[in-house]
Point group: C2
Chain length 746, copies 2
């Protein structure tokens, strides 16, 4: 039997930038599994092999969790240190960042926790003083210089070693998870370079975050670790299950939100997400989160990035400002996506794209120069968000907490609403400027040739807007507590409005507007803050934001970037709503030449080779005879080429006039004819077929749910044409009035 | 065109106990949606209609949340009151339960919160004293009497008015969501009777919970509210989306765990769960939870059933007892499922099933008689769990907290490990007896003709086992704190072991063993307790429990009950692992007569009617001609019968010799022949086909993912046979060495 023969090497693999066949991959995995199960009954050794095979998935998850958690910790620590390096250095030990430097100092007081003699600004080191205009200029200059250095290193490393390390990586990971092959995108070079350049990019002070790239880093870990396990190395479908779990682990360490990470993977990134993967993702996410916590990069043994301590209740009337924040988030999301895509398209199509280093340096210079004078832009974005989320305690020394203290604390030690002091008014101005800078610069930053995530910049924009609105509301409630609306909810001298909560809600709204996440967003925010109290405000804002943004453009930022790059991604969220039929989409069209087919028992090797060289199709249907057009199966171009080549080399006497048989038995041949070539083993005997009158909505559904590459079209039992995934995507683009030629790959 | 004609009433609907065709239902919804979108461009009124149609889903979710939240509150309050009624009555107002009665009293002291003159036990009312053996007997007698009365009422109401109201309902809801029709299962009578009898059943003191039935109640709400919206009333697929969300709302109110509810619906109950439904489910679950909280049935403005206040850290070595609890949970789960299914099968097949009222009364009597003398069985099961989860404070007066106080509280006000007092030893004995009673009686209770959930009984079993182990560990750590293992972790006089945590872990393990929930279980427990600290212990126990239970039997309790009842449920979690082909499963088998087909243009009405009356198939393939066997389409029996009947009534001249045409155009007929009957509009022109050599694993996958009813089998373009969902299920049962005739429905 041909079936039992050693498989020809290469048959069943894929070319770069091609789509996998989910059905075939899953079939192969089940065959493998069946074989192991059967063998395991034979000997103890095989039984152990079987058990270890079953548990290898869990082991892999454990390793992914450990590795991505450690890397995230490493990135956090280095980024923290290098961010501070822009401002100065610790003489107590150059490896300490600002905070740690002063922790170890004996000369530090409670009021000035961040001032200690061990920490020297660059001015102190160079001109021996930190006072005066000249020192300011020295510090300014060094700040910009370091930023430029970091950015230059980042972009050069990316350009020289791993071009795939740029961007957030989430659009590509989405595409890969949907079944696309991009060789090297999740390879070890990408991992190494992305890890290093991510630290550099974050430290350079650009308006970008490390959360999206951490998902890419975790997926690289997953992919590389897959190579240690046969089960996952050889099977593209199984490997994608692992990558889904790795994505969950990535978000888990990015935000310290394991459940949110799993839901993010399920909602936003994954394509095929069986329940077994759900459970394993959860495990990987938890291991990753706890690894990160043991590394303790923030030095506070907290898992989460922004820990919120307030638990003051919110009032029903506050839903109005929350919904306003939702609208703002939706508008910002839609605006950001449009302008960013327009700019990225310009970069792709004009000279601009040819000078990535110059572009990065210019944007970095502008960012650094504008950022230094304003303390809210100078600090790292995650610190800024942390400060904005924070509710003011009595002892808080931040400018944002500079209220006029009346010291009549209300019951329970809660601080009542107080009039704003001078510090707050100046902070408001600075924050407004920060908001404008962030809004503008992020549009140009996201998509440059460096690792860049946009979770944090989006959240920052929302948090600033939220805090501004929150402080406004608070002052309104203080000065006009006799207004009907405040009167019924806040008594005078009570803590009525929490500006930190507004910042949180604003952050959720803006993040939702950009990414169009829903449940995972609310769960991430809920894990970040650790309380169910604020789930309704968060949800109201996220929902409003999604509705507003969807009304202005259906795609989230990731989908927009997928379309910009022409990846073959079949969106599972949008229903195909047009009333076209399979016959309108299939090739050949009405006036084209007939479909190229092979016959099952009458073509010679030469005939087939001619067809292969004259066409570029990636597969050919095999029919009983040209006249009947009755379908037998489908054979892939790649398999056909490899098999014929292999036969010519290894099988004696196969020549150009040998007849190729796809049938089960070849008939007895007269003597002196060349030996036949039997290729039934590479024939897919169960190709998917639909009738020509099948509505396209059903065809799209089949492609999506079964993960097909192609589907054959029949009419009353005769083969009529073929629909590939690319045809489907082009048709969808055409129906949505987009350019069908933007779909580049198959 | 036939297409534009008014559809014949009844075409496209389903019979009771039949499976819906997901593809067709979804197509119909898209058609409807397309029509509304097209119309909405024409007039403002149509636009408003379009917008309201789009928002009707959200409105529906809101209503489901409100209604199921209110019903859950009502059930909680009534069950609480009626449970206390078994012991006594409040003279300050008979509508108060014990707790509320004493709240309103002035004569209550802090130590004896549950003793006040207003609350009278039955002995006090009847013989005017609460002391002595006679009073005890009177109370005992009244307790049993009330229990029997409640149980009798419950089972009689169920039997008389709504037989579908019994059980937990989750197996049936799973089946319905997978596309099965059971008319009346989610109807208004079921809702009313289930709500009333659930209160009665819970109050009767039987070993059952209200959590599972609450899911059924919420689904009834969802189904009934669907009738207010055209979009959902007429479309079986859309209605199932709503039911998925309603199930989430049900769990959300049962445990006060909105996120856990959504994940439960996703993981355990739902079949088709698009992302849009995820978001809406979340909304419904939140609304339901907040409605319940506003009703405030527990009187503590907490959402959750068992609020846990301790936050003591756990130690790594404790993972060993946690895993032991996991093993216990797995063993109990497997044991429970086997014995319960064996008992239910006996009930189905023997005389036993004919006397449901007697059965319920006997079980109630046994439960009540055994329960009264032991305080842990006498209290309601959820109170018991609450007490077991509780960590002992200094002032706790419960017997479980009767430690010998040394009054040397360690730092931070935490209580150190202390030696157990007399109360604890007696409590341990009582708890051990309770454990045995619960284990045995629950097996006989679940499946009786009353509403019964098993979340709470399973959790109780686990919580008791966990608390026993926890107290054991605690005493071990106290008396042997010099042992190496304790030495390194717990210093003397520190709070080392928290028995309440063990109870929590045990509850999770047992619940996991019975239901095989994974992520949703951990998330529910995490929401119940409100802290991420214990997620690792919970997960370790849940994972062990699932592995152990899976090793002893793959099915969870709900799947086992589905199989027991022979419902056509295609499990999505298990992969089909056998190497059979479509030709091995399809009908007709090798030696059977040929497949019954219709021809597209040569059969008369009489021919077709003969075929209909001679066969029982629910549909027929239509071919070009019997000789070619080339497939044109598929027509459903029900549609065919209705259409012919309709034509005979309404279309002039259609007689038995009229020819039925399934073609697009009927040829011109010679004069004096009877008019033809054109039935192309009821023909499904895109039937699903697979080749005879398609592996069954792929066929199973297609059935599962696309939600098919049937699939046609071809060989080289010729029609060969048909595979229905029932055939697939029978084949799966056969391959798993089960009785294929246990699959009853199609």
């Amino acid at each position: 039997m041909d079936f039992l023969e050693e498989p020809i090497p290469g048959v069943g693999t894929y070319d770069d930038f091609n789509t996998i066949d989910w059905v075939r991959e899953k079939s192969r995995d089940r065959d493998r599994h069946r074989e192991i199960t059967n063998k395991s009954k034979e000997s103890t050794w095989a039984l152990i092999h079987g058990v270890s095979d079953a548990f290898s998935g869990w082991l892999l998850m454990l390793l992914i969790g450990l590795l991505s958690g450690s890397l995230a910790g490493l990135i956090d620590i280095s980024a923290h240190w290098m961010t501070d390096l822009k401002e100065g250095i610790c003489t107590g030990g150059f490896w300490f960042n600002h905070e740690h430097c002063c922790w170890n100092s004996e000369h530090v007081t409670f009021e000035h926790r961040d001032k200690c003699p061990e920490w020297n600004s660059w001015a102190q080191l160079i001109i021996n003083t930190d006072q005066g205009a000249f020192a300011y200029i020295v510090n300014y200059f060094m700040y910009v210089l370091w930023a430029l250095l970091f950015a230059f290193l980042a972009v050069s490393l990316v350009k020289a070693f791993a071009p795939y390390a740029c961007g957030s990586g989430i659009p590509e990971i989405k595409t890969i998870l949907s079944g696309f092959i991009i060789r090297g995108y999740l390879g070890k070079w990408t991992l190494v370079i992305k890890t290093i350049t991510l630290v550099l990019a974050v430290s350079s002070g650009l308006s970008l975050g490390k959360e999206g790239p951490l998902v890419h880093v975790a997926c690289c870990c997953g992919n590389i670790l897959c190579h240690c396990f046969n089960k996952y190395r050889k099977n593209e479908a199984k490997r994608r299950e692992v990558l889904s779990a790795a994505a969950a682990a990535g978000v888990s360490v990015a935000f310290g939100a394991p459940i949110g990470g799993v839901l993010f993977s399920l909602e936003e990134v994954s394509y095929y997400f069986p329940l077994k993967t759900l459970w394993r993702s959860f495990f990987a996410a938890l291991v990753a989160a706890f690894t990160l916590r043991s590394i303790n990069p923030f030095g506070n043994s907290r898992l989460v990035l922004f820990y919120v301590e307030f638990h003051t209740p919110w009032h029903l009337f506050e839903l109005v400002p929350f919904i306003v924040l939702g609208i703002f988030g939706g508008l910002w999301g839609a605006l950001f996506i449009r302008t960013n895509i327009a700019w990225c398209r310009k970069r792709k199509t004009t000279q601009l794209g040819k000078y990535p280093v110059v572009e990065v340096l210019i944007v970095t210079a502008i960012t650094a120069i504008l950022a230094f004078p304003n303390e809210y832009t100078r600090m790292s974005t995650s610190e800024l968000i942390s400060e904005l989320f924070n509710d003011c305690g009595l002892l808080d020394s931040s400018k944002l907490c500079d209220y006029e203290n009346h010291f009549n604390t209300s019951k329970g030690g809660e601080l009542p609403d107080r009039p704003a002091g001078v510090g707050i008014y100046s902070a408001m101005w600075q924050l407004a400027l920060t908001l404008i800078l962030k809004i503008v610069i992020t549009i140009f930053t996201f998509g440059m040739k460096i690792p860049s995530g946009l979770f944090i910049p989006s959240m920052a924009v929302g948090a600033i807007a939220g805090r501004l609105l929150g402080v406004g509301m608070e002052q309104l409630a203080y000065y006009h507590h006799d207004w009907g609306i405040f009167n019924s909810w806040c008594s005078q001298g009570a803590d009525c409005i929490t500006p930190g909560l507004y910042a949180m809600v604003g952050a959720a709204a803006c993040l939702g507007g950009v990414t169009r996440m829903t449940v995972s967003l609310v769960v991430i925010m809920f894990e970040l803050t650790g309380g169910l109290e604020y789930i309704v405000p968060l949800m109201a804002a996220a929902m409003t934001s999604k509705w507003v943004a969807d009304a202005l453009g259906r795609e989230g930022i990731y989908d927009a970037h997928i379309r910009l790059n022409g990846y073959p991604f079949l969106e599972a969220k949008e229903e195909f709503a047009h009333k076209t039929l399979a016959m309108d989409v299939m090739k050949p069209r009405r006036n084209d030449p007939l479909l190229t087919v092979l016959t099952q028992d009458s073509m010679t090797v030469e005939d087939v080779e001619t067809i292969i060289s004259e066409t570029t199709y990636s597969g050919f249907p095999v029919v009983v005879s040209r006249e009947s057009q009755r379908l037998v199966g489908f054979v892939l171009r790649r398999d056909l080429i490899i098999s014929i080549e292999n036969a010519r080399k290894k099988q004696d006497g196969v020549v150009s006039t040998s007849i190729i048989y796809f049938t089960e038995h070849s008939p007895p041949m007269p003597p002196y004819t060349p030996p036949t070539l039997k290729l039934r083993n590479i024939l897919d005997l169960s190709p998917f077929t639909v009738t020509d009158l099948t509505p396209m909505e059903i065809v799209v559904d089949i492609f999506r749910k079964l993960g097909l590459r192609q589907c054959l079209v029949t009419h009353n039992g005769r083969l009529l044409g073929i629909i590939t995934k690319k045809d489907v995507l082009k048709h969808i683009a055409q129906m949505a009035n987009q350019d069908p030629d933007s779909i580049l790959f198959n």
